[in-house]
């Protein structure tokens, strides 16, 4: 009981971090599932949101709202750009696509940091979000609680879209069997492009929301990309539900893990990622 009590704050922090990662990584896992594309520019889409926040947030709610809209829209455009540029490379395999997205990530990162100035930028959220509240004898930062609420709402809405709408059904079907979708009269490539745009928008949104957690800066695109890849792999490529569980687990490792086992936590993520890939490559039907 004492252990739980003492670590409640980092644990809640971990949930917030995890949900943020989930919103950021959901698009990546669906892009992988629908198009089998390793999108190395995904972290850059997140930073598009972060830089929008840095530019537009002025401590008012109106500024935050403006940043949310602008960041989401800009990252969606980025996703559309990615869809347009990777489409001609379909037949060329994973290597060409990975290299292209990596090149675009470098270009995008450079343009963003030269437009906004190098170094980690401060983001001014409304004062109400910067405080903390006393709950059950602990002080929790308001931003993290708000992040949990918003990200959970987004995850729920996303789940509804995936399960209850025609577009969502098409996405799920494309993950399972692209050929069947094309038999139904929809080009799986269009589904994939749609996923890249929507996933980009989500990543941009996460970039604004999560600016106080992983803010805009030269290293943040790589951080988000690598953490998202871990989430995508641990959650099972293309699985949204799996990504949610994996994201929260990764969030806990990054917060609670660092408190409980500071020597081990940094290795845990990539070891788990490699382990998950190994286990999955042994499943039947994929003989090595």
């Amino acid at each position: 009981m004492g252990l739980i009590d003492a670590n409640l704050v980092p644990a809640v922090d971990g949930v917030a971090f995890g949900l943020l990662l989930f919103v950021a990584a959901a698009g990546l896992t669906l892009a992988f599932g629908t198009g089998d594309v390793l999108n190395l520019a995904h972290g850059t889409l997140y930073t598009v949101g972060g830089y929008s926040a840095a530019a537009l947030c002025d401590g008012t709610w109106r500024g935050l709202l403006l940043a949310l809209v602008a960041g989401t829209a800009a990252a969606a455009v980025g996703g559309a750009l990615l869809a347009a540029l990777t489409a001609p490379l379909r037949r060329r395999g994973h290597l060409a696509q990975a290299l292209l997205t990596f090149g675009l990530a470098l270009i995008g990162g450079d343009l963003l940091s030269s437009a906004a100035g190098g170094g980690d930028l401060p983001v001014a959220f409304p004062a109400a979000l910067n405080g903390s509240v006393l709950l059950a004898g602990h002080r929790f930062p308001v931003h993290r609680l708000a992040l949990i609420a918003v990200a959970a709402a987004l995850a729920g809405a996303g789940q509804l879209v995936l399960t209850r709408t025609r577009a969502g059904a098409l996405v799920r079907a494309t993950v399972d069997d692209p050929q069947m979708v094309s038999c139904l009269g929809t080009d799986p490539r269009r589904v994939h492009a749609g996923v890249l745009v929507a996933g980009g928008a989500l990543a941009g949104l996460a970039g604004v929301l999560g600016a106080p957690v992983i803010g805009p800066g030269p290293g943040s695109a790589d951080t988000v990309l690598l953490l998202s890849l871990v989430v995508v792999v641990l959650g099972g490529l293309g699985s949204v539900g799996g990504a949610l569980v994996a994201a929260v687990a990764v969030g806990e490792v990054q917060t609670l893990g660092v408190v409980l086992a500071p020597g081990l936590a940094p290795y845990l993520l990539f070891a788990a990622m490699a382990g998950a890939l190994v286990l999955r490559s042994r499943t039947p039907g994929r003989r090595a």
Partner: protein, 309 residues
């Protein structure tokens, strides 16, 4: 085959004597990073181009070789050949240990497994402070000696020639191996794995051998990095390095070791020289190079025609 080796010898001689005569010492030092990254890129051309296993994690054996060399040198082992053997062995052992995991995977899964391994090693380099010096890295590494009891190589031209000779030797061995029937085995496994299995070939074993060879080459590159900059830090060995050497191998027309080396020179020149004229925009230029490589050199990426031995 023979023509290839002769061309290689001629190029080596050119690099050894003509280039230092034309370029000033300062410029030579700027070419040096190409020597360190060149051998890992050659390894990628073997592993990805010839054996068909894509990798985003050659920074890992590169790191293992570099840190092994740095630690040995600080412990007093400054003889070049001994350092090189140790670094190549370290890289090969790393590949042997991680190989069984990697050679099971194909395509995007292989990219991600190697990426995860690379990040694990980079994390270790940054965190295992007692051995690696953490994010500060290992500095104060004494200069290398050509042979036991020789004088330390301190002047730029001598150092440059050392890098050229080591790179040329490693490249020569690689070309010889790929030109032998072993190279055909790897190409066959890349082209049609099931066919090779159905004939009785141990495809996993061939891939493991290629992965170990690429690891040894990356380890050698790590040794050259330490020799050249007398310093190593986690910034030298991360994801960025892995993707750079992959790009270099692709630029050179993947599957061609000499091309991979040329690709590395191009990448390093763009990153260090062009960026010097346009400060702060190295990543932009590199990114443009990535995009150009994918769109303008499709043959470099997909279709490889092999010479018969």
């Amino acid at each position: 085959m023979r023509a290839q080796l002769l061309t290689g010898l001629a190029l080596t001689a050119l690099a050894l004597f003509a280039v230092p005569a034309v370029l000033a010492d300062g410029t030579l030092a700027m070419l040096a990073p190409a020597a360190a990254l060149g051998l890992p890129a050659v390894g990628v051309s073997v592993l990805t181009g010839r054996a068909g296993l894509p990798t985003l994690g050659q920074g890992a054996p590169f790191a293992v070789g570099a840190y092994a060399t740095a630690l040995l040198a600080r412990a007093g082992l400054t003889t070049g050949p001994a350092q090189l053997v140790a670094a190549a062995l370290a890289g090969a052992l790393f590949a042997l240990a991680t190989g069984p995991v990697v050679v099971r995977a194909r395509g995007a899964t292989a990219l991600m497994i190697t990426l995860a391994l690379g990040e694990l090693v980079a994390t270790a380099a940054g965190r295992w402070t007692s051995v690696t010096g953490g994010t500060d890295g290992l500095a104060g590494i004494p200069p290398v000696q050509l042979w036991w009891g020789g004088s330390p190589l301190t002047d730029d031209t001598a150092l440059y020639r050392y890098l050229v000779v080591v790179t040329a030797l490693a490249l020569g061995v690689t070309v010889l191996v790929l030109g032998s029937p072993l190279g055909l085995l790897l190409a066959g496994s890349r082209d049609h794995e099931e066919r090779m299995r159905a004939a009785g070939h141990r495809v996993g074993g061939h891939l493991l051998a290629a992965y170990i060879g690429a690891g040894a080459l990356a380890g050698l590159g790590g040794a050259l990095l330490v020799t050249e900059q007398s310093y190593v830090s986690p910034a030298d060995v991360g994801f960025g390095t892995s993707s750079l050497v992959l790009l270099a191998a692709v630029l050179g027309g993947i599957g061609s070791p000499l091309g991979a080396l040329a690709g590395t020179v191009l990448v390093v020149v763009v990153r260090d020289q062009l960026a010097a004229h346009w400060p702060g925009h190295g990543p932009l230029l590199l990114g443009a190079l990535f995009v150009a490589a994918v769109y303008l050199l499709p043959d470099g990426i997909t279709s490889i025609r092999l010479r018969r031995p």
